[in-house]
């Protein structure tokens, strides 16, 4: 997976994605959304729960 580190433009900084992330891979402050890709397990809970549909996960082809 290629981590999308940039700020998703529809993001409302509500924290729902952080709340459901089982591995604490998402960090949020007043104006920054950050994914720690090395921790991400691609469970997609954050993608699922986002009220704004702001997140998308791009899976890489398995090597």
């Amino acid at each position: 997976m290629k981590p999308e580190q940039s700020l998703p433009i529809r993001c409302d900084f509500c924290g729902a994605c952080v709340a459901v992330c089982p591995v604490d891979a998402i960090q949020l402050d007043e104006a920054h959304w950050r994914l720690f890709a090395e921790r991400c397990t691609q469970c997609e809970a954050c993608v699922m729960v986002c009220p704004m549909n702001a997140l998308e996960m791009k899976h890489e082809e398995p090597v």
């Binding site: 729902a16 709340a19 604490d24 729960v49 704004m52």
Partner: protein, 390 residues
């Protein structure tokens, strides 16, 4: 910002501000940290509280906190049937912007040091030496040492995780919500509305809470694991289009609400959690303001006493956890069981339920009777309903 305090409170919402206030009153040196630019902004809340339970915390409610008094409630079935509820209970629509700000101000007046735009991005707890909190404040990096940390950092609580507590919300129990403040609404301002439908809001409901002046908080929540087919923000726009064509949206917000069973552990060495961070929310309604106030006040007081006694171990702080679990925690567990039963009803069952209750005389259309008819096949839960709603 100094480098040493007795108690650091992370998050200046209702739980954090109450905790900071209660802790400062014990004479402790208290630091209250808020990542946003002001306590109370942005508002991520439908702003409704039960008047009775709110007045138990604040017997004299300042008028400036109240936008609207609610005396009636109507439940809308999927069929469109309207079910006015008979209830003696009244509700208050708060001005959370003002309310949160005043609570933070109150904490400051009691001696707490508040810093806004202060983002806590790390924490390390040494059982013997103290807790170290990493704060990014403006362009500065500050390491603060404290005897006790109170995590009131909301649904996304990372403070709890750093302290080894299980704060992750199960996906199905996180209600993803979207809300707008919108108007003009041609509705009675003293009546709130709840819409239930498995298709529109699977695992949740839609609400209209009038805020006075022809404005209302209109929002909805969807169970986290059902969002893929019912994205809250899009569902809300469709809901508005259907029920209020041409309405103007003055503000929009999103958020996650932990509608879970009570958390088993909300303290560890030198650490306590309060409010949404500790999942202290009524899982049936998603309401959490009063819980946060009670929990924050209790946590702050016990943290202050622990500091005075120079014993900030998990064993000492567990007084908070125990007191909470034996009081509000019991109610939360009951409400969670009810939530699981109620939100498993499909639209057909909900419509039948509404028709049954509509056939009762008005004074019998109480919340408890609704649950009684909904739970005919699960009579053990009826007692839970009685305990939760009386």
């Amino acid at each position: 910002m100094k480098n040493q305090y007795d108690i650091v409170v992370v998050g200046a919402g209702p739980a954090g501000a109450m905790a900071a206030h209660a802790a400062a009153q014990t004479g402790a040196r208290v630091l209250l940290l808020e990542k946003d630019r002001q306590a109370g902004i942005p508002v991520r809340c439908a702003e409704g509280v039960g008047e009775g339970s709110f007045r138990k915390v604040f017997p004299q409610v300042p008028e400036s906190w109240i936008c609207q008094r609610i005396t009636k409630a109507v439940i809308h079935a999927p069929s469109g049937a309207e079910l006015p509820i008979a209830s003696r209970h009244t509700g208050l629509l708060l001005d959370r912007k003002r309310f949160d700000f005043d609570l933070a101000h109150r904490a400051v007046q009691a001696g707490a040091e508040l810093f806004v735009k202060a983002n806590v991005h790390g924490m390390h707890i040494d059982k013997a030496k103290g807790a170290q909190v990493q704060v990014r404040w403006l362009d500065r990096e500050v390491t603060v040492t404290a005897q006790v940390v109170i995590g009131a950092d909301g649904v996304e609580s990372r403070v709890g995780r750093w302290g080894g507590l299980k704060t992750v919300t199960p996906l199905r129990d996180l209600d993803a919500c979207a809300q707008v403040l919108a108007g003009p609404v041609d509705l009675a301002m003293d009546t709130c509305h709840f819409y239930f439908s498995e298709h529109v809001t699977p695992g949740g409901y839609a609400w209209i809470f009038p805020k006075g002046d022809g404005l209302a908080n209109i929002g909805l929540g969807v169970s986290g694991d059902r969002c893929a087919d019912a994205r809250p923000y899009a569902q809300l726009q469709a809901f508005l289009h259907q029920h209020f064509p041409g309405i103007r949206q003055l503000s929009a917000t999103c958020g996650g609400v932990p509608c879970c069973a009570p958390m088993k552990k909300i303290v560890s060495d030198r650490l306590m959690l309060a409010g949404d961070a500790a999942h202290q929310v009524n899982p049936l309604t998603g309401g959490g303001i009063v819980n946060a106030l009670i929990a924050g006040r209790l946590a702050g007081k016990i943290a202050g006493q622990a500091v005075q006694e120079n014993d900030c171990s998990a064993e000492r702080l567990r007084e908070y956890e125990k007191t909470w679990q034996q009081t509000e925690g019991v109610r939360q567990a009951r409400a969670f069981r009810l939530k699981q039963a109620m939100f498993s009803l499909n639209d057909e069952r909900l419509n039948i339920l509404a028709d049954t209750v509509l056939n009762l005389p008005f004074e019998k259309r109480t919340i408890i009777n609704i649950f009684k008819y909904a739970l005919l096949k699960k009579p053990s839960l009826i007692w839970d309903a009685v305990k939760v709603f009386t």
